[in-house]
């Protein structure tokens, strides 16, 4: 091994090897479920970004915004349209996404 670090756990399993690319959190935000937009995240520009989402609040439907990030760090999000029901109107189309936690991880940030 010429360069880098190898780390094992207490059972002798190799946890980190020199050729591994870990996912590191560079950006997090919370967006309203009916919102849409885009923004540039400099830390995600050219660093192999990948975006993940999770419901930001409890007790709702659990539906998240539809979210993507480009290779060059542009984050976009838009609401999800689905079907709801109430006794007065029956089934109808509406925004079903709720407040969403957005996390951008990058895999290849260089020293």
């Amino acid at each position: 091994m010429d360069f880098g670090c190898r780390i094992w756990d207490e059972d002798g399993n190799l946890i980190l090897n020199t050729a591994d690319y870990t996912a590191r959190l560079v950006y997090s935000t919370i967006k309203a479920g009916d919102s849409s937009g885009s923004e540039y995240v400099a830390e995600a520009d050219g660093t192999k970004p990948f975006v993940m989402v999770a419901p930001a609040s409890t007790g709702g439907s659990g539906n998240c915004l539809t979210v993507g990030v480009t290779e060059w760090g542009t984050l976009t999000w838009e609401p999800m349209i689905g079907t709801l029901y109430d006794p007065e109107h029956g089934y109808y189309e509406a925004i079903v996404s709720e407040e969403t936690l957005i996390l951008i991880y990058v895999c290849d940030e260089k020293i």
Binding site: W8, A23, L25, G62, N63, G68, G90, E93, D108, K110
Partner: protein, 222 residues
């Protein structure tokens, strides 16, 4: 910062005191499946954890189409695997809170940041993404399947949450579909749509897609 960090052989930062890593919280095999109502078009395996599920990585089979979905079932920290059949699916659940949840091992390496928070714990398998594949979204919105290829054999895949709702395609009821993944062989897989709900009453005036732009799939290993 150019010190106090660990870098890989390609000068890629693997961990430092500034960025949180995504840690493995659960690894297992999903074998209990619940049919989705109406026509039993698809099945789900629900996770109900006491931590935030940030990513669900799965190893698909050759016999079904599947994806891991974060949220979608309400409640607090849920997610599921949705698939077109009932094959056993190997999965890995990752959480951004893993460093706060895991105990400190009696042997190994633990590093802390300036606030005494754990930033690396050798008792945790951190998410390793070996490739990210940008799938042709236009083809997906045209209901086509897309084959992806990768160097690593039999990896896990993280598919973004997605769905479509359509009144068309010759079905009497409107249908909800999702993009999932099906294994072709050790180094290739197919991304394609599969229906998971046929609804007799849910209206839709047109095809509606909730597909991220761009649609990117992470190829991962434990």
């Amino acid at each position: 910062m150019n010190y106090g960090l660990v870098a890989g052989i390609n000068r890629n930062i693997q961990f430092d005191t500034n960025r949180k890593l995504l840690g493995l919280q659960e690894h297992g095999f999903a074998s209990n499946w619940t049919a989705i109502s109406y026509e039993n078009l698809a099945y789900y395996h629900l996770f109900d954890s006491d931590y935030v599920i940030t990513a669900i990585a799965i190893k698909p089979t050759t016999s079904t189409i599947a994806l891991g979905r974060v949220g979608t079932h309400g409640g607090q920290y849920t997610g599921d695997i949705l698939q077109s059949g009932t094959a056993t699916i190997e999965y890995a659940l990752y959480s951004s809170d893993a460093n706060d949840i895991h105990g400190i091992p009696s042997y190994g390496l633990v590093t802390y940041n300036a606030n005494q928070e754990v930033v690396f714990n050798s008792d945790i398998h951190y998410l390793k993404i070996v490739d990210i594949i940008d799938v042709n979204r236009s083809r997906l919105l045209n209901w086509e399947s897309v084959t992806i290829e990768h160097d690593v054999e039999n990896p896990f895949y993280i598919i973004p949450n997605n769905q479509a709702h359509t009144p068309y395609m010759g079905w009497p009821w409107s249908r909800f579909l999702s993009l999932g993944i099906q294994k072709i062989n050790a180094t290739s897989a197919k991304i394609s749509w599969f229906p998971f709900i046929a609804h007799p009453n849910a209206p839709t005036s047109t095809e509606r897609f909730a597909v991220p732009t761009p649609f990117r799939i992470a190829i991962c290993v434990l």
